[in-house]
């Protein structure tokens, strides 16, 4: 299945208008305020935002307009009026009327605005402050009483509101309604008492709430974690890439004296537009909050980890790996360059294809599907924009790739895009998309996929959890073949797509070269200047673990893997104890406890690199914290390889990037894919159910540590069962149920909702609901569900 970009040339009508005496030609539909921007003419504004529907509320952007000689009797809001042929616009620069109107509105905006700029977080980067300087008057004529409010009020644990600063532009409420579909904040009261607020019993717990802080044109909305922390002119900003998921957001990281103080959404119209999710914005303290590994350590003869010098630690790692039957486990958070380092290290330094980036529940079906259909594919956000139908399979966009959610939602709102979700439980996000929900029992997705009818304009978005249902990916492949629909695989973690392209998996070499293709191996071996490369398909994560436990593998190089992310966590922990383990990590983990050599590495803000988002496109970034001594994984792997006498020559991230680029994509045949059959029905007794789950955006994820304000906005932890099951076990919403199997149990408050009668849902990794750690299974396993 190849993805071909069908380029349709859209014919756009162009209109020429005159603004302040200059002609400008813009597409039909362009607003006057933006046509002026094209000429470099800045009309002051507050409520206007290019990604929100025009509202014309603040009246700051008034200009004089005439069309074909007919003048409007009064100045018009340039943010609401599209250009028209024959239009002549006079802004504040050439019209006294417009200039006075703007000065008048600015004066009125300041009537009730406090003079607290010196203590306001927005001071120094405030559109009101700036435009009051450029378009206002120095002295206020207001001698009366200003409006005051109790301040600040918490809209959520993370977002605070100082109402007296608010200019009521409604950007925040419009964003929440129009973009996020979370109208939890609204304008309340009216007239001079109008104010932004929540319903008193329901906080502003939207996954996208931080965007309202960013687009607030005054200091009314602030994030608790940045409030009173810094002045904007003391910050050093670095463009960066978000490490939290595969959406691929452009970000800006603001650092003061080596410490990240905030992160903002960058503007990439092809990806995140100007938005991001709250995790991307606020979950950055883990880098400093957690107990970082500072120095290399080697386990001594007493079995204890001991601080070692870098040369000693590298030597110890090489010694342990030398001659061992070694395998590589690399987590899904590695940068593209680091993943490539692990990939090359496995093949060249360890002589094995036993490498897998999938630190999660996986299947061979998935591995083969990735090699046959995903690597090198080029479906993009634009394909969502053009789709006639979006089919979601094993994928909760709002929880697992929030910007994909926003993009689908945009098209749903704009043109009623049809969305269908095949899943086990109707989610909040899918409900917001107005999607058709096709309810299945956990593990039985395949049949529902096969019954969908799509067109060549449709797009299937498959999540990583599809691997947890046998036959699901096979059904997707055949639906694509049959309908000609586009499809994309959207993993949850930021590094997975890059790791796939880098060949950090048993059946692929870098650039999509199939391991089993001799020509591909020769191509790569010559590029790498090695005689040969291992020929067999390497083991998967699960197989590597079993092989350690059975003695077939004796050593592990582990980078950024949390054993509790795997569905066989107990087995993994015992394998780690058994093997010689070299751990590359930023902080102590369950791996550290069993590791023989521990090598600290750089966190994402401390290094350069790139992430490939789910579309396969790269976002490169430089170190935001410039003075870190920590090294990227690839640099350390290169040192170990040197010590092993099997050099991989990847001394720097930039050298690695150059090598990846020079290799290019494999243009030979793809590996073939043989479908997996869907399972047959399972017999359940009345107190048994099939467990199903996904990770919520905000949960116990390692990268969210240290940000309690953010954690406070997480969704409530509940277990979900169907009304039929609820009746059967005698519970109602709010009661507690126990979900258990032979490994353990969790007890959670229950929510009776629309879910398959055979299923019980709980969040995969939320407080009290750590399914993989407690049950060792999070999808499709049989569990016992009883009233607790």
């Amino acid at each position: 299945m190849t993805t071909t970009q069908s380029q349709t040339t859209e014919v756009v009508d162009m209109i020429t208008v005159v603004i302040d005496g200059f002609e400008v030609t813009v597409p039909k539909g362009t607003l006057v305020i933006r046509a002026a921007e094209k000429l470099g003419i800045q009309i002051p504004r507050f409520c206007d935002h290019p990604l929100l529907d025009p509202v014309g509320a603040c009246r700051q952007c008034l200009v004089d307009i005439e069309i074909n000689g007919r003048a409007f009797p009064k100045p018009q809001a340039s943010c609401t009026i599209p250009v028209e042929p024959g239009m002549i616009v006079k802004t504040q620069l050439t019209s006294d009327v417009a200039e006075k109107a703007q000065r008048g509105v600015m004066e009125l905006l300041l009537v009730n605005h406090p003079l607290d700029c010196p203590v306001c977080d927005k001071g120094g980067e405030c559109p009101l402050q700036n435009q009051a300087m450029t378009n206002g008057q120095a002295e206020s004529r207001f001698e009366g009483k200003k409006r005051t409010f109790e301040k600040p009020i918490n809209l959520s644990s993370q977002v605070l509101l100082d109402r007296e600063r608010c200019v009521l532009c409604a950007r925040c409420t419009r964003f929440s309604e129009q973009i996020a579909s979370d109208p939890f904040i609204t304008l309340n009261e009216r007239g001079a008492l109008q104010q932004v607020g929540i319903y008193e019993e329901k906080p502003f717990e939207s996954y996208f709430s931080g965007n309202t802080v960013q687009i607030c044109p005054v200091g009314a909305l602030t994030g608790a974690s940045y409030r009173f922390r810094a002045r904007p002119f003391d910050l050093v900003s670095t463009p960066s890439a978000c490490e939290h998921c595969a959406s691929g957001c452009d970000m800006r990281t603001d650092v003061r004296r080596g410490k990240t103080l905030r992160r903002l959404a960058g503007d990439d119209p092809t990806i995140n537009e100007e938005w991001n999710c709250d995790k991307g914005r606020w979950a950055f303290k883990y880098i400093t909050a957690i107990d970082r590994l500072a120095q290399p350590m080697v386990r001594n003869s007493d079995g204890e980890l001991e601080v070692a010098s870098w040369p000693d630690a590298i030597a110890a790692a090489a010694a342990g790996l030398s001659g061992a039957k070694a395998a590589v486990l690399v987590g899904g958070r590695a940068t593209y360059e680091d993943a490539y380092g692990y990939s090359k290290f496995a093949r060249v330094a360890l002589g094995t294809n036993d490498i897998d980036f999938r630190a999660r529940a996986t299947s061979d079906e998935e591995r083969d599907f990735l090699a046959a259909h995903v690597v090198g594919s080029q479906t993009t956000y634009k394909d969502i924009d053009k789709a006639d139908h979006v089919l979601l399979v094993g994928f909760e966009p709002e929880e697992e790739s929030p910007i994909v959610f926003l993009r689908i939602n945009k098209q749903v709102k704009k043109r009623g895009l049809k969305v269908t979700s095949i899943g086990t439980k109707l989610s909040i996000g899918v409900e917001k998309l107005g999607a058709t929900f096709v309810k299945v029992a956990p593990g039985f997705e395949a049949a529902a996929i096969a019954s969908q009818s799509l067109t060549a304009q449709s797009i299937i978005l498959v999540g990583e959890r599809a691997s947890e249902s046998a036959g699901a990916l096979s059904a997707v492949a055949s639906l694509v073949a049959q309908s000609g629909a586009k499809f994309a695989w959207i993993p949850r973690r930021a590094g997975e797509r890059g790791a796939l392209e880098a060949g950090a998996i048993g059946n692929l070499l870098p650039g999509g070269r199939p391991v089993t293709d001799a020509a591909a191996r020769v191509d790569l071996a010559s590029a790498w200047s090695v005689d040969s490369l291992p020929t067999n398909v390497g083991r998967s994560t699960k197989e590597i673990i079993s092989a350690v436990n059975s003695g077939e593998v004796t050593a592990l190089v582990v980078g950024g893997v949390d054993p509790l992310d795997l569905d066989n966590s107990n087995e993994t922990l015992s394998a780690l104890k058994k093997a010689f383990v070299v751990s590359l990590e930023i902080a102590p983990s369950a791996v550290t406890q069993s590791a023989d050599v521990v090598l600290p590495v750089a966190a994402v803000t401390e290094k350069s690199g790139s992430f490939l988002n789910w579309t396969g496109s790269a976002r490169a970034f430089d170190a935001a914290v410039a003075d870190s001594l920590n090294r990227s994984d690839v640099r350390i792997l290169s040192m170990i390889a040197d010590a092993l006498g099997k050099t991989i020559s990847l001394g720097t991230v930039s050298a690695t990037s150059r090598e990846i680029a020079s290799l290019g994509l494999w243009d030979g045949a793809r590996s073939t894919f043989s479908p997996t059959l869907a399972p047959s029905a399972v017999q359940l007794s009345s107190d048994e159910a099939l467990i199903t789950s996904w990770r919520r955006l905000l949960d116990l994820g390692t990268l969210q540590k240290g940000e309690e304000n953010l954690a406070g906005t997480a969704r409530q932890t509940v277990a979900v069962i169907s009304p039929k099951r609820a009746t059967a076990i005698g519970v109602i919403t709010g009661d507690k149920i126990s979900i258990s199997n032979s490994q353990g149990s969790v007890v959670l408050p229950v929510l009776v909702e629309d879910i398959h009668d055979d299923a019980v849902w709980a969040p995969r990794n939320s407080r009290g609901s750590e399914l993989l750690a407690k049950l060792g299974n999070a999808h499709g396993g049989v569990v016992k569900v009883v009233k607790a």
């Binding site: 025009p54 509202v55 014309g56 509320a57 603040c58 009246r59 700051q60 008034l62 009797p73 009064k74 100045p75 609401t80 006075k100 109107a101 008048g104 509105v105 004066e107 009125l108 905006l109 009537v111 009730n112 004529r141 207001f142 009366g144 009483k145 409006r147 200019v167 009521l168 304008l187 009261e189 009216r190 007239g191 001079a192 008492l193 109008q194």
Partner: protein, 427 residues
């Protein structure tokens, strides 16, 4: 021959005037039967020919408004009657609906037929419970009698206290279940109104005028009124007059004529200032007694016919106090959406309070006028414009009185003197 021409009010003096029996007794629902037998376009043409103009204040030709509704577009069309009568001084639709709700219902039936709407709404303000009762009962009775429910449905929607909902797009947002704040135009309601469907929004009196026009013909209606302001209308006289009330007369009658009928200004007093059409229309004085009260005549004299709410104030009334109260009203009713109206009315009230209690200055007058200049035509809707009307017009005619408050450090008027019960004292 009387100058008055009761048509809408013709039978209000019958005790059961509000019942369907009384209405049919006087030929009610014959006009709708006649209209339903006509081609819808012919009904629109008839209303166009009659010259009927909107009675809610703006005076837009009603037939032309109906004609803007795109036909054959396979979309639902809606008729929405604006019964949110709240403009200070305006008190014509409320007694009309209380005394004869059926004429409005019949007008709705005819209008729906003309614009090919199957669904009509009457948006009535919520502070008039007994009128709500009467309308609700009348709608029920019209359904029972088969006038409604056979292709045309009518729903009474009750507001909840917001002057801004008299603005047609705010009314539509309110009717859709949102905060009643005005919408951007374009799109205009005729293209995308209620539920983004083509919608006609008409004032109660406009729609209630239609049955008589259909019954008697456009030519009959054309005989009344002036060249561009056809027909008869309800003038509401209130305030310092001997006999306040409703006067249905052809457009173009003068205040002097109405005052003559009403027994003049309160005995022993003289006219000081008045509003031709509610507080949002610039004030007039005794110099304007002979201005024809039609759309053109009032506009030519620098005000607006508005809702024909003739509020009369005699020489006992302090104009600063009167204007302050109106300004407080606009501040209270500003929806909050746009800066000039929201913040401007907040500020205007403070300056006017200072002026009224004698702590203002002469410079405040210049400031007031400049502020009004920054609000008028800069606000999102006409509410902000309306807020400036009493201020600018009162300063124009009564500047000295403002100055007197400054120099005398307080209000020179006795508020008791202007009360209705002044002769008996404020008990």
């Amino acid at each position: 021959m009387s100058k008055l021409t009761p048509v809408l009010s013709a039978h209000w003096d019958e005790k059961d005037s509000f019942t369907i029996d009384a209405y049919t007794r006087h030929g009610g629902y014959k006009a709708s039967a006649k209209a339903l037998a006509m081609d819808p376009d012919a009904v629109i043409q008839l209303v166009k020919d009659s010259g009927l103009r909107g009675r809610g204040g703006a005076g837009f030709p009603t037939g032309m408004k109906w004609g803007f509704i795109p036909q054959g577009d396979n979309k639902e069309h809606y008729l929405v009657v604006n019964a949110d009568e709240s403009e200070p001084g305006t008190c014509k639709d409320t007694p009309l609906m209380m005394a004869n709700p059926h004429v409005l219902i019949e007008g709705c039936i005819i209008a729906c037929h003309a614009i090919r709407a199957k669904h009509a709404f009457i948006y009535i303000r919520g502070e008039v419970t007994h009128v709500v009762r009467r309308l609700n009962q009348a709608i029920e009775d019209a359904y029972k009698a088969g006038h409604l429910g056979k292709g045309i449905d009518l729903v009474l929607h009750v507001g909840a206290g917001a002057y801004i909902c008299g603005e047609e797009t705010a009314l539509l947002d309110s009717l859709e279940g949102f905060r009643g704040q005005p919408r951007l135009r374009p799109p205009f309601p005729a293209i995308a109104g209620l539920y983004a469907r083509p919608t006609v929004v008409n004032n109660v009196e406009s729609i209630a005028s239609v049955p008589a026009i259909v019954a008697n013909g456009a030519e009959w209606y054309q005989k009344y009124g002036t060249e561009k302001s056809k027909g008869m209308t309800l003038y509401s006289l209130s305030g310092h007059v001997n006999n306040p009330g409703q006067f249905e007369a052809p457009l173009g009658i003068t205040l002097r004529e109405i005052l003559d009928l009403a027994g003049g200004v309160r005995t022993g007093h003289t006219l000081k200032f008045w509003t031709p059409g509610g507080s949002s229309t610039p004030l007039f004085t005794d110099a304007h007694l002979d201005i024809p009260l039609d759309y053109e005549g009032v506009a030519a004299a620098g005000s607006m016919l508005g809702t024909k709410a003739l509020q009369i104030f005699d020489e006992t009334t302090c104009v600063v106090r009167a204007v302050l109260r109106w300004t407080e009203f606009y501040k209270h009713e500003s929806c909050g959406k746009c800066t000039p109206c929201r913040e401007g009315t907040w500020w205007l009230v403070q300056i006017l309070r200072d002026l009224e209690n004698g702590s203002g200055s002469e410079e405040d007058l210049a400031k007031l006028l400049d502020l009004c200049d920054n609000i008028m035509g800069r606000s999102f809707c006409a509410l902000g414009d309306g807020a400036t009307s009493p201020i600018t017009s009162s300063i124009k005619y009564f500047r000295d009185e403002y100055i007197a408050h400054v120099t005398g450090k307080g209000c020179p008027f006795d508020p008791v003197a202007s009360t209705l019960f002044s002769s008996a004292g404020a008990r």
